[in-house]
């Protein structure tokens, strides 16, 4: 198990390096630069700025310097927001984004798993159909539609919850964004849990456990649940990717001060270091979650470990 984990962690490094390299060059080869404005800067100021940030040097040298900075944990200064470093900006927004993302993930799992189990156990019944219909609809609805709908219904019409905004430590502001973000993930989890359980219920080891006279719930808890969770667990990686993407929209809709807006702003402003910082942050996050999902998978299913040993 440890060896498997070590190999998988080592596998992340080259992927990250490729990600950094590709995005570094793509961002810089795109037309326009950080100091292009409607009113052009005086040539001397511009030259000094470029000198300051090292933008007048050959690309490959800039790349090397960026990597050196990274090795020291330095993400560089933001080209547009002159008073801030990229790391500083991320430190400001990350707590909000992480709170949002983790509560959405928790919500999706806490609701999706029981819902899927319930649907599988009552297969073909009214509840099963209801869960499947809910999943199909939630998966088809993009969060930029559900978000404004929820804000309109619960914020503007019913006045139950704030329409938008954020106050640290006030969970009322978190509810609508977290629900919006969790909805499609919850639907996928419910679907996968249902499918996983249906596969397992018919497996021979579950039938023989029942035949040995074990009670329905005992079989469920000790025999069926673990293998049935496998599809849900392997979905956790893509789930995080979908949460990351969704959070861009949700943070815009509900005007949350998270990190999502930096990516859009940074790309629009050609703020190279900011875009790179965000790519690195979200890329690492996604890769780590994929890894975590694979490790849990290996723990649940010994065959996975065996294959790689």
């Amino acid at each position: 198990m440890l060896g498997y984990a070590a190999r998988r962690i080592a596998g992340i490094v080259p992927v990250l390096l490729i990600l950094i390299t590709v995005s570094f060059f793509v961002v810089r080869l795109a037309p326009g630069g950080p100091f292009d404005q409607a009113r052009p800067l005086p040539p001397r100021t511009r030259a000094e700025l470029e000198q300051l940030y090292g933008l007048n040097r050959p690309l490959i040298v800039q790349y090397w310097h960026y990597l050196q900075g990274l090795a020291h944990g330095d993400l560089g200064p933001s080209f547009k927001m002159h008073d801030d470093t990229v790391a500083g900006l991320i430190a400001q927004g990350l707590p909000v984004s992480l709170t949002l993302g983790s509560s959405a993930l928790a919500l999706a799992l806490l609701i999706g798993v029981p819902l899927g189990l319930w649907a599988a156990l009552g297969r073909g019944g009214a509840l099963d159909h209801a869960v499947c219909a809910f999943a199909a609809v939630s998966l088809a609805l993009p969060s930029f539609v559900t978000g404004p709908f929820l804000a309109l219904a619960f914020g503007l019409w019913l006045h139950w919850l704030p329409v938008a905004g954020w106050q640290a430590g006030e969970p009322r502001y978190l509810i609508l964004p977290a629900v919006t973000l969790a909805l499609p993930v919850c639907a996928s989890v419910a679907r996968l849990m249902r499918g996983g359980m249906l596969d397992v219920i018919e497996a021979s080891f579950v039938r023989s456990a029942r035949a040995r006279g074990l009670g329905r719930w005992r079989v469920l808890r000790h025999h069926a649940l673990r293998p049935a969770l496998v599809p849900v667990v392997s979905y956790l990686g893509p789930a995080v990717a979908s949460l990351v993407t969704g959070s861009l929209v949700v943070e815009t809709v509900f005007e949350l001060p998270g990190t999502g807006r930096y990516l859009v702003q940074g790309a629009l402003n050609r703020d190279y270091t900011l875009v790179m910082g965000m790519v690195l942050l979200y890329g690492t996050l996604t890769l780590l979650c994929n890894l975590a999902a694979d490790l849990i998978h290996a723990w649940l299913d010994p065959r996975v470990r065996g294959e790689h040993a």
Binding site: V15, I18, L19, S23, V26, V27, A30, P31, A136, V137, L139, A140, L141, P142, F144, V145, G147, P148, F149, A151, L152, L156, G237, A241, S242, V244, T245, L248, V249, T252, V253, L263, V264, A267, L268, V275, V279, Y282, G283, T286, L287, N290
Partner: protein
């Protein structure tokens, strides 16, 4: 191909009672498409014409603004239909491009085997593990803010991954079949075998995934337009209309509700149809 697939799905209806919904979805798609094409002609207003006497007017039958207007006095009925046109167009074209890439990539990988296959699928895995819309977003912002073509390329560039995986798996099983062996024995080149024997057998699967891809592409486009990075004013897509509506929802909720309902109807229909086609043509994929 599309036509005969649909006919097959229709013929299966009697055996699967739940498939009536899919037929309904297909009808709705056709209806929405036709409406997007001919619907604007029914209204006296143009998509970008300003009506100073009716700013943010509520839906009404008397003044000709059936679905209301926005704060600039532009008619929402016509704008929504123009948005639908653009969203459908981008969705279908981007799907076409994605299908071409995914099909070629998956087929070559599956057929070549060995190290080529391992590398090609490794590329897919890496791209797969990154947030998909996130890459689209970067591509679109950096290269395509004013051009629909570039927007299309950015959306299509990352949409082909699932199809590539599916096509590869199918190709792997197809290439072991007797008719492929017979073709090889008859001296056909690998390219010839792929074109004449593998490709036709992939058609059903590809049709299913193409149908499921259209709503994804429409969502991607709307997502970018919602963030202000896709279709730019004065042009409208469903995404940019939803975005405008979200800003005006206190004063003019119809600006949100009208384009959002059309978008939801469209996405749900495509998903329903795709799921039903998958049940019929590719039961193992469920």
């Amino acid at each position: 191909m599309r036509g005969s697939t649909l006919a097959y799905a229709v013929s299966m209806r009697s055996r699967r009672p739940g498939r009536r919904a899919a037929l309904f979805a297909a009808a709705l798609i056709v209806l929405l498409t036709l409406w997007a094409i001919v619907g604007p002609a029914a209204s006296p207003y143009s998509p970008n014409g300003l009506d100073w006497h009716h700013l943010s007017a509520a839906p009404s039958l008397t003044d000709g603004h059936w679905l209301g207007t926005d704060p600039l006095g532009r008619d929402l009925y016509v704008r929504t239909l123009y948005g639908l046109r653009l969203s459908l167009l981008i969705g279908v074209l981007a799907t076409g491009v994605s299908v071409l890439i995914g099909l070629a990539w998956g087929m070559v990988a599956g057929f070549a085997g060995g190290r080529v296959e391992a590398w090609m699928m490794r590329v897919v895995d890496i791209l797969y593990s990154l947030p998909y819309l996130f890459i689209v977003l970067i591509l679109a912002t950096l290269f395509g803010r004013d051009s629909i073509t570039l927007l299309l390329v950015a959306i299509a560039a990352v949409g082909w991954l699932t199809l590539a995986r599916v096509v590869r798996a199918k190709t792997l099983s197809l290439k072991r079949r007797e008719f492929v062996e017979a073709a090889r024995a008859a001296g056909l080149t690998p390219a010839g075998i792929m074109m004449r024997h593998i490709l036709p057998n992939l058609a059903g699967t590809v049709a299913v995934y193409a149908t499921l891809m259209v709503p994804q592409m429409i969502t991607s486009e709307s997502f970018l337009s919602f963030l202000g990075l896709g279709v730019q004013e004065p042009r409208a897509s469903l995404g940019s209309l939803v975005s405008e509506g979200a800003h005006e929802m206190l004063a003019a909720p119809w600006m949100l509700l009208v384009p959002a309902s059309v978008l939801v109807a469209l996405l749900l229909s495509f998903n329903l149809l795709g799921d039903a086609l998958r049940d019929v043509l590719d039961p193992a994929a469920r």
